[in-house]
Amino acid sequence: MLRGPDTRMRLVALLFIVALLPVLGQLVRIQVLEHPRYQRDVEELVRRRYALPEPPWGVITDRNGDLLVGNVPVYDIGADINLITDTVQAAQRLAPLVNVPEKDLRAALTLPEDEKKITTAWVPLAQDVSAESSQAINDLGYYWITMTPHWTRYYAEGDLASHLLGFINRDGQGYGIEVSQMRFLKGETVDKTGALSGDSNPLPNEMADGMEFPYSGTDLRLTIDRTIQAYIEGELAKAVAEYNAEGGTILVLNPRTGEILASASVPDYEPYRYFDYASSESVGVFLDPAISISYEPGSIFKVVTAAAALDCGKVDLNWSYQDRGSLEYGGIIVRNWSGGSYGQQDLEGALAHSLNVGMATLSTQVMGAHTFYDYVQAFGFGLPTGVGLYGESGGQVHLPDDWDWADSYLATNAFGQGIAVTSLQMVTAVSAIANDGVMMQPHVVAARYYPDGRSVEVPPRSLGKPISTETARTLSELMVRAVEREIDYAQVPGYRIAGKTGTAQIPTTGGYDPENVIASFIGFGPVPDPQVLVLVKLVKPDVPYTMRWGSQTAAPVFHELAERLFVLLGIPPSNLMAAGG
């Protein structure tokens, strides 16, 4: 036995090999035969879906850089309740900080009896807890508390420009710029599957393999001016209260560029409390009356009819007609607003006296349907303006080829009945008259500032030229004279104002509301170089019937606004502008 050293060495080596064989076998089993299963187990253990902290959304400022919508951090609070030692004390201390009744909190923090064997049990405690409360919670030193930061929008000016700015909920739904510009405002979040450590942080390999990091959203600078916005909102509120109106809209626009300087509508809402309105089923208040709700504009539409008649060349300043107080066309009888007849009238007289018969004469006997509706469409009626706001309506224009066309539309549309437009469409159309015939794209976004430092200015864009420069200037002059002759309330000393009143009937089922009207005034100035265009609309002013005309309700509001706007915008009086060339 074991006679020599070689033999003993071989024996020892053999023993080692035999001892190593099971290890080798296990290695083969684990690394080769059952490799996929173990690989899967490991991946299940470390590879999980995760999201990095949400980056802030882009902020929204007014044209001067004053913050309108920003971000503040809030926290979602949770707890690993299997780690709590003193539930009663914890609930007592946490309740005031997370704004949850102590009793409810104690119940949430208590691990159910039959589930005590589980190793982890995380429960959410509160959402959107403020940074101050979160700090106080952190100071309690509870290691079982989890705090997940995210952002909520902060409206620096409260409910200013609520319809314009809008809001967005956690599901990505909402109104206003927040929704329409969401693709810019929202930052790039990182939500992926990767290898995570026990405390849910990405493992080094995950970082080394080209980890993506979130980046914040694009900042927006708007065309609106918060001072003008606050001013017109105050004036609108005063007007609505003074005339007992159901609602109202004021739009201020620069006709040269299409920039919306301010837009206010009543009823409005507080965007940071949108959930309260949603829960009380008052969601109708979220619709912006300036862009989403169309109405029959009434007499302010007459400027469009007059523009079409002048521009098509069939009418000039020498044109006149015999106003007999009524006109029969398409099975209806058109009458003037006063019911009276005005005798021989030219275009200036028809505009100044706001004669329905005169406008119906132009559309039915001078232009005809084809010409008239070509101009109506050229002015953008029937289609959204593309202002870039959520929920814009295109209004409704009946055309001769439509199935629901009636011949009477040609007569009534001429003075703003039987046609539905939005306030923004009306302002955009009239801006063409103010801007030498060029209709500018209305817009609210002036510039975008990207997180990488790039910035893009949004240039003014033309929507076309529905009328010639000559027509626009002629009509502007006629509108100035109309204001000077008939609308004392709208005049601003030192400034030449072009304008038109409207007192529109409100359609109901089977006719028109005999009690209520929409009173409006649209005007721009100072002529001949208009810098500002204003639409004032008051819905159902509840004042004595003889006092609810646009000239008596909306025109005085326009006067107040224009007077202040010229000062705020630094626009010199007309005589100084003329002197300056």
């Binding site: 980056p55 802030p56 913050l67 503040v72 000016e157 409260g158 080094p204 990091f213 030192g494």
Partner: protein, 108 residues
């Protein structure tokens, strides 16, 4: 100790001993090189882990700083907002201009 036993255990022929020493040296060199490479790799991995942790921490710090920045910006905006300015103006004794009269100056 017999001569046979001595030859069997230590009496390795000189030529064979030389070649085995060379092999041993090569093996040793191989082990040293492998050890150095493994050490370098280990150092690299450790450095990678450290850097990854640093990046992650910097990212966390960045987000925390972003939260502070946004909070401060929002607070500044609140303090300079129109309602707050109006309130402060009123506290300072200013009154809202209810009746504004504008002077129209003629062209020179």
């Amino acid at each position: 100790m017999s001569v046979i036993w001595h030859q069997q255990t230590h009496g390795v022929p000189i030529r064979k001993a030389k070649s085995e020493r060379t092999i041993a040296l090569l093996f040793l060199a191989f082990v040293v090189v492998i050890t150095l490479l493994l050490a370098a790799y280990l150092a690299l991995v450790a450095d990678n882990v450290r850097l990854s942790r640093e990046i992650w921490q910097i990212e966390q710090d960045l987000m925390a700083a972003e939260r502070e920045t946004q909070t401060v910006a929002s607070e500044c905006a609140r303090l300079s907002s129109i309602p707050v300015l109006q309130e402060r103006s009123t506290q300072l004794g200013y009154q809202p201009a209810n009746q504004v009269e504008y002077l129209s100056l003629g062209a020179p």
